[in-house]
Symmetry: C2
Subunit: 211 residues, 2 copies
C-alpha cells in the first residue's frame, strides 16, 4: 500500500488549527496573516496551503474541535438520572470554557463571521442546533417528570436557556465588580425561573416567600 497517511494528515491539520485559535481570538480572522499562523504552528510560510486551500478553511476547522466534545457531554447528560442536575453541569461547563479570554474572544469572532460568511453561518447554526437539541432533551425530561413547565416547546425553551448561558461570553471589557461564581449561580436561578422549574434541587432562594 502506498497511500501513506490518512490519519497523520488529519493530525497535522488540527495542529495548525490549534495554533491559529489563539491568533484568531486575539486579532480576528482578517487581521491574522497566514504567515502568523505558520509561525505559531512551527511550519514554513507557504506550507499551510498544503493542508488548507485558504485562510478561511483554517477558521472553519475550529468548529471540529468543539463538535466531538459536546456530543460526548450530552451523551453523559442523557445518562444522568436527574435532568436538572445534568443541565447545571452543562451550565458549569460553558462557564468554565468561557472563563478563558481566548475562548471568549474566539466565540464572538465566530458569531461576527457568521454574519458575513455563509459557511461559518452554517457551522455556527449546526453548533447551536446541537446545544439546543441537547438542552431541549433535558427540558423535555423535566416537563415529562412534572418538575418544569416552561409554557412553550422544549427546544424553544432550550433556546432561551442558551441565551442566558451565552451571557458568559462576556463583552470584552473588564468588569471588576463581577464575581463569576455568583454569575453562574444567578444564571441557574434565572434558568429555573424561565423553565418554571419546581423540582428538587437549588432552584430558588431560601427567602423566596416575599411578604
Amino acid at each position: 500500500m502506498r497511500t501513506i497517511d490518512p490519519e497523520k494528515h488529519r493530525q497535522r491539520r488540527m495542529r495548525i488549527v490549534e495554533a491559529a485559535v489563539a491568533l484568531f481570538a486575539e486579532k480576528g480572522l482578517a487581521a491574522t496573516s497566514t504567515a502568523d499562523i505558520c509561525r505559531a504552528a512551527g511550519i514554513s510560510t507557504g506550507n499551510l496551503f498544503h493542508y488548507f486551500a485558504s485562510k478561511q478553511e483554517v477558521f472553519h476547522g475550529i468548529f471540529e474541535l468543539d463538535r466531538d466534545e459536546w456530543d460526548h457531554h450530552f451523551a453523559a447528560a442523557a445518562a444522568d438520572p436527574d435532568p436538572w442536575h445534568a443541565l447545571t453541569v452543562v451550565i458549569d461547563r460553558v462557564a468554565a470554557d468561557t472563563a478563558h479570554p481566548v475562548v471568549a474572544g474566539l466565540l464572538v469572532e465566530m458569531v461576527a463571521q457568521s454574519h458575513r460568511d455563509p459557511v461559518t453561518a452554517r457551522l455556527v447554526a449546526e453548533g447551536d442546533a446541537r446545544m439546543v437539541r441537547g438542552i431541549g432533551a433535558l427540558v423535555r425530561r423535566m416537563v415529562e417528570a412534572g418538575t418544569a413547565d416552561p409554557g412553550m416547546a422544549a427546544e424553544e425553551a432550550a433556546r432561551w436557556v442558551l441565551t442566558l448561558v451565552e451571557s458568559f461570553y462576556g463583552r470584552g471589557y473588564p468588569e471588576p465588580g463581577r464575581d463569576r461564581a455568583a454569575d453562574v449561580a444567578t444564571v441557574k436561578l434565572l434558568v429555573a425561573r424561565v423553565l418554571r422549574y419546581r423540582g428538587p434541587g437549588p432552584q430558588e432562594d431560601p427567602d423566596d416567600a416575599h411578604t
Copy 2:
C-alpha cells in the same frame, strides 16, 4: 473671525461615519479599506484623513450615533408613569433596531472589537452602562411600587434583562422557523419571570394556572 466651521466639520465627520457603518457591518473593520469608506462617502481617497487620524477612529465615531438617541429614549421612559410599559417600549425599540441586518452585523462587530481594542471596549462599556442605568431605574420603580421582586439589586437585574434583550442581535444565520413578533412577546414574558413582575400588564400567559 476666521475660524470657519466647528459645526460643518462635525457634520462632515458624521457623514463619513454613516457611510462606513454599512461597510463595517457587512465586512468587518479589518476587511473594510479606507478607500471603500471614501468611495461610499463620496470623497476622494486620502480625504478621510483630514477628519480622522485612522480607520479605527472612524469606527469609534459610530458610538456617538447611538448615545444621544438612547439618552433621549430613557428620558422619555423616566417620564412614563408605568415603568413596566416603559420597559416594554425599550424592548420593542431594541427589537426594531436589530431587525435591520446592518445594525445586527454592526453590533456583533462592536462586541468582537471590544475584545481586542481597549478604546472600543470602553465605548461598549459606556453604552452598556447607559442601558443598565436606564433599565435599572425602571426596575427600581417597579420594586418600590411592589410590582416586581427580582431578589437582587435593580441594576444587577437590569443586566440580566439586557442579556435577554440581546438575543435580538441574532446569530448571523437565517432562522426561517422564527417569528420576530413572537420572540418579542416571549422576551417580555421571560423578562417578567426574571423580575418576578406581578403588576398590571400582560406579564404572563392567561393559562398560567398549570394543573
